[in-house]
């Protein structure tokens, strides 16, 4: 087994004819946590959109290899089945669909794609309860409509809950820390930390270094104007905190 999980080479991509990523190279090893930092408009969210196959984003050049497969040929659902999970910056409300129904549908869709039978209801319920406790969600949470009427903190905890349910191989957190108070930030960080394993990698996209105090990354990248201009260890995040992005150049 190759030790690299994700290989991005010279990736150029954008939306509505506007190029946002202008040649990104990134290699992520199994079990590693990479942080991607950068100012607004650097292309951080475009990167997460391209990795998860958002239909309105177009890749114009370059390649992405995930677990030995050509990621760009896979649909969003195929990427999920292959173990990619995105914690959305703006989680979407789905009126009329309960968390339970949503997760049951998601888990059984993946099992079907893998040729497995549906999960038994008792087994599913046990998993649901276990993962709810993981993000400190109470009983009635499972019956609520997905993200409808959730506070900002609840939405982000719901993302981490879903991540724990789906047990991805590559978890991508897109600005999961934005708008969170310290308590919610700690719940999110504890959740991610307890999911860390030698087989599971993470990309933490963030604006601030705060989350990285709780989730220590192995590698920090600075994304600016569509390119990775600097790569370093966790100390790079601390330096950005002190000097700002302006002090960091390629």
């Amino acid at each position: 087994m190759n030790n690299s999980l994700l290989e991005i080479k010279d990736l150029r991509a954008g939306i509505e004819g506007k190029e946002i990523l202008k040649g990104v190279d990134l290699s992520i090893g199994r079990g590693q946590v990479h942080a991607i930092m950068g100012p607004n408009g650097a292309g951080k969210s475009t990167l997460s959109a391209v990795l998860t196959g958002r239909p309105d984003y177009k890749v114009t050049e370059g390649s992405i290899e995930y677990d030995g497969r050509n990621l760009l040929e896979m649909t969003p659902e195929e990427r999920s089945w292959a173990g990619i999970f995105l914690s959305f910056q703006y989680p979407v409300e789905i009126p009329g669909v309960s968390i339970t129904n949503f997760m049951k549908t998601a888990i059984n869709a993946r099992r079907k794609a893998q040729g497995l039978p549906e999960m038994k209801p008792a087994e599913f319920l046990k998993l649901l309860k276990e993962k709810m406790a993981f993000v400190q969600m109470k009983g009635e949470f499972a019956k609520r409509e997905v993200n409808v009427g959730f506070s900002g903190g609840e939405k982000k905890r719901n993302e981490i809950f879903q991540m724990a349910m789906l047990e991805p191989t590559l978890g991508i957190l897109d600005e999961t820390d934005s708008g969170l108070d310290v308590d919610a930030l700690k719940i999110v960080a504890d959740g991610v930390n307890s999911l860390r394993s030698p087989e599971r990698s993470f990309i933490i996209i963030t604006h601030y270094q705060k989350l990285l105090e709780y989730i220590r990354p192995d590698v920090v990248h600075v994304l600016k104007e569509g390119r990775i201009v600097r790569t370093g260890g966790p100390e790079l995040a601390d330096r950005i905190w002190q000097e700002g992005f302006d002090g960091i150049d390629g």
Binding site: G53, P76, S80, F88, I94, P95, G96
Partner: protein, 197 residues
């Protein structure tokens, strides 16, 4: 009164119904794919404490033309009416809901609610909700809501990113949208409708 389900185009629906004191009516109107029809229904709440629970569901995926004209008249005080209509309109189908709530001057302590929502599945489909309130009493609680829209692309992508295939995601959205009306139907009919979605 027991719950009653009418299949539009097959069952005869009374054009007008009067509810006396304390009488209750619980009706659901169902319009299945392939049915074009005009439904005229006038229900009056004529005695104190009468209650109406009316729902409707119309599935028009092809070239159907469905019109529902529903009027609910509160002629007596202390009555309650609930109306909930949901439609799925695709292809080149047309669906229209005209809903009148009338509250007479003496019908104090009236509670009247009406919701009418439809989802368009294609650019060629057309749906309209026309709620109308005529209220002459002053101590009443009335509300209405009407929406027409497409299935959201953001919702779709969110579901797909969790591994739910596009087709299943759209179906889940439609079933969820219809669920408050589906819940009122006998299991067999409900399962038939769900398998049509």
């Amino acid at each position: 009164m027991a719950r009653k389900v009418f299949m539009i185009g097959r069952d005869e629906i009374p054009a007008s119904v009067s509810l006396g004191a304390g009488e209750k009516l619980d009706w659901t109107l169902v319009c299945l794919p392939g049915t074009s029809a005009v439904v005229d229904l006038a229900i009056s709440l004529d005695g104190p404490g009468a209650e109406l629970d009316l729902a409707g569901l119309y599935l028009c995926p092809g070239s159907e033309n469905v019109r529902m004209n529903v009027s609910v008249c509160h002629n007596s005080g202390g009555c309650i009416s609930h109306q909930l209509f949901k439609g799925i309109v695709g292809g080149t189908a047309r669906a229209e809901f005209d809903g009148l709530i009338y509250v007479a001057r003496d019908a104090q302590k009236t509670k009247a609610y009406q919701q009418s929502h439809s989802i368009l599945l294609s650019a060629g489909a057309w749906a309209e909700s026309k709620p109308q309130l005529e209220i002459y009493a002053d101590d009443v609680e009335c509300s209405h809501g009407a929406t027409t829209g497409f299935l959201g692309e953001n919702e779709l992508f969110y579901m797909r990113s969790r591994g739910i295939p596009e087709k299943d995601a759209r179906r889940l959205q439609i079933i969820s949208f219809l669920s408050p009306v589906l819940e009122r139907l006998p299991e067999e009919l409900r399962d038939d409708i769900i398998s049509e979605c």
